[in-house]
Symmetry: C2
Subunit: 457 residues, 2 copies
Amino acid sequence: MNQQKKGTNRDNNHYNPVSVIRKKRDGETLSNEEIEYLIQQYTTDAMPDYQMSAFLMAAFLNGLNDNEAAALTHSMLHSGIIVDLSHVPGIKVDKHSTGGVGDKLSLILAPIVAACGVPVPMISGRGLGHSGGTLDKLESIPGFTVDIDLNRYKEIIEKHNLVLAGQTEEIAPADKRLYALRDVTATVESIPLIAGSIMSKKLAEGIDALVLDVKFGSGAFMKTVEDAKKLAKTLVGIGEQFGKETIAYITDMNRPLGNAVGNWLEVKESIDCLNGDGPSDVMEISHLLAGTMIYLGKKADNISKGIELSRSAVSNGSAIQKWIDIVKEHGGDINFIKNPESYPKASHIVDLNSDADGVIAAMDTYLVGMASLELGAGRKSKEETVDPQAGIMLHKKTGDSVEKGETFATLYTNKKETLNNAIEMLKSAYSIGEEAIKPVRLITHKVDKNGIHDYSD
Amino acid sequence: MNQQKKGTNRDNNHYNPVSVIRKKRDGETLSNEEIEYLIQQYTTDAMPDYQMSAFLMAAFLNGLNDNEAAALTHSMLHSGIIVDLSHVPGIKVDKHSTGGVGDKLSLILAPIVAACGVPVPMISGRGLGHSGGTLDKLESIPGFTVDIDLNRYKEIIEKHNLVLAGQTEEIAPADKRLYALRDVTATVESIPLIAGSIMSKKLAEGIDALVLDVKFGSGAFMKTVEDAKKLAKTLVGIGEQFGKETIAYITDMNRPLGNAVGNWLEVKESIDCLNGDGPSDVMEISHLLAGTMIYLGKKADNISKGIELSRSAVSNGSAIQKWIDIVKEHGGDINFIKNPESYPKASHIVDLNSDADGVIAAMDTYLVGMASLELGAGRKSKEETVDPQAGIMLHKKTGDSVEKGETFATLYTNKKETLNNAIEMLKSAYSIGEEAIKPVRLITHKVDKNGIHDYSD
């Protein structure tokens, strides 16, 4: 009587969704097998959305520890294909950013790192809400296609040490379904769930090592440096559990990165950077991330030497040449890379001028992103399309002096109907005061397998 | 720009499901309008199950305060009809029990209270799991029907001061849908959600006042007296918010109530009680609950006088006569009420005899309920049917002495295949020791609008 069915721990008959949900609800730790069971049941439609959303809320409120987050990542990763890049010589390294406003770093560091001999398999996403996405930026280059199949993906990276692609249905399909459910059940902003989502996609690319840019501040998803540190620690922990060396930097997103916000405007700024003429904040982080990737790719003995190689790739022209080559390979019109000024302009271009003398005391970077979205550069829902020409050039940023009548920002749009709205948003994003606030460090921490370190360099 | 739509606070356009879920997720208090919005959206299929289950888990973990619980009750109550019993003279009073093993109190107190002139509109549920249900017990009387429409419901209570019915689709349909969802998302055991479910159904019956029997212990849903106190306080708070005087008692369910467990066996025991020959624990709570109902129905100046009237209704025969009348009205065969011994017996009747001399030190009342379910008296899922003849007679309970060879329990079943399983369960439910444990008080607290009071009488 009451005989238990015999089997291994992996026997799914030992579990049921309600008991696993209840366990997490009661603050207990789930086994790898229980998490695998949930994800497997969900992705095979054996477990309905309403049970998964109850689990997600329980996980949101009671947390998942590092092992649980790694098990979740493992289950989502193995819900799809893991690209095999063993035919490509070298240590494959990618970079992921948690997203921000004006973050065009991928467009700069990818060709730098590839030019230094480290293969970069880069699968990127689209922008949503205030935050831009690398795919939208790439597609602002006429002809550039990110929709490539697996064979073409392998072919391009083998040829150029670099490939730039969009996520396909084959990569971590469980994450795609889970993310869509989290979006409509108020369970997005959970550090272990975010970490699992990021890492399941990155680990599927075929990487050997990973560099992470975890942003905090008004323009980032993590509002505080403390949350950014937690996320970075979780991400690095997962990477290391999968045997992929992972280094994260915590960087400030209380100011937009560089001066350009918007798809083509950011591509143009990244070309300036590759030509050695970029804004200092963009170049500082680009060289740090690129240098770290070059170090992880074992083309430099340490990160400092990696940064030196990164600077050389810009100064000797190999990085911009790599960029021209890869744009051409993806079908993009390289005339716009060689001569960015020839790109067609938006129909409405409006300068914002200061009412008074003063100093930019602070910027609400989220509002800058939202103003850019109003201009057409972003999308409120996944179905919307973006306008490559739309965006903002920020001539002044936090800490800069401004004179009465001086232009502090210029708006570009083809949507006259929302222009005034964007102008109001952008104006209110700027706080002009009498003196500059204490400058914030751009890069605050480095996080690696040994822990969290204050960053000063 | 950004003009807000004008409207009252009840304008549902001001809300969206994700923002209300997020608010509860973040531990904030929801307004009445927000809760009404959720329930209204859910019951009109404008909000899917997966959003409601995320909300339920957030409410489970972050709680709902008394106002939120009352708003939830209000929304669920108004999702269906509220019976109008204004044509029936007198103050209508019902009783609700949170459920247990051997709890046949409704069958005893309903005719007592009705015989004392207080109208009792009683809508009951079916048993599920270890716990029995009044409807199943009533239906063990051949011919008795609980499926009556609203007109018949009003007609019966007007004629007899009593009606016994099953819940219809018209009563609190939102609760029915929510309960089904809670059952599969591990969100059942939440005090405010339980309270909202109970009260929305009771308030729909057309009552003016309510008595509650909130049970704790191994055979109850609330395992501790502390949880029972919290639930009772929430239930009384909701009742008072709706202007219905509500009194709750906290009672012990570490022992089954009375000696009979199982549908007909319990009906038979309740007939014994109405004939003045019932077990003392059953009679003590029955008279207390009935006396309180009589007091709330203003047929006695205080509860003590109500209890006196209750005892008189048994001793003068008016209660058993009321029972015969109401069984007849509902189509039941009154010969079995008048002569319970004539009821057909189960095909298998097994005595359990003690292996040794001793004292019943403790009983796992949950296991007694589960043994009864194995015998056919209960249902594991809503779709199963129950066997009216199946059940257990407990000849010995906690504190009783037992001699070697003496029968301490008798099992009744028509299912030979699970009999041995039930025997093992029932045996393991009994702990026989050398001395009696400290007797537990049957009724520990009274809870009313003035708070929680220790009960001693």
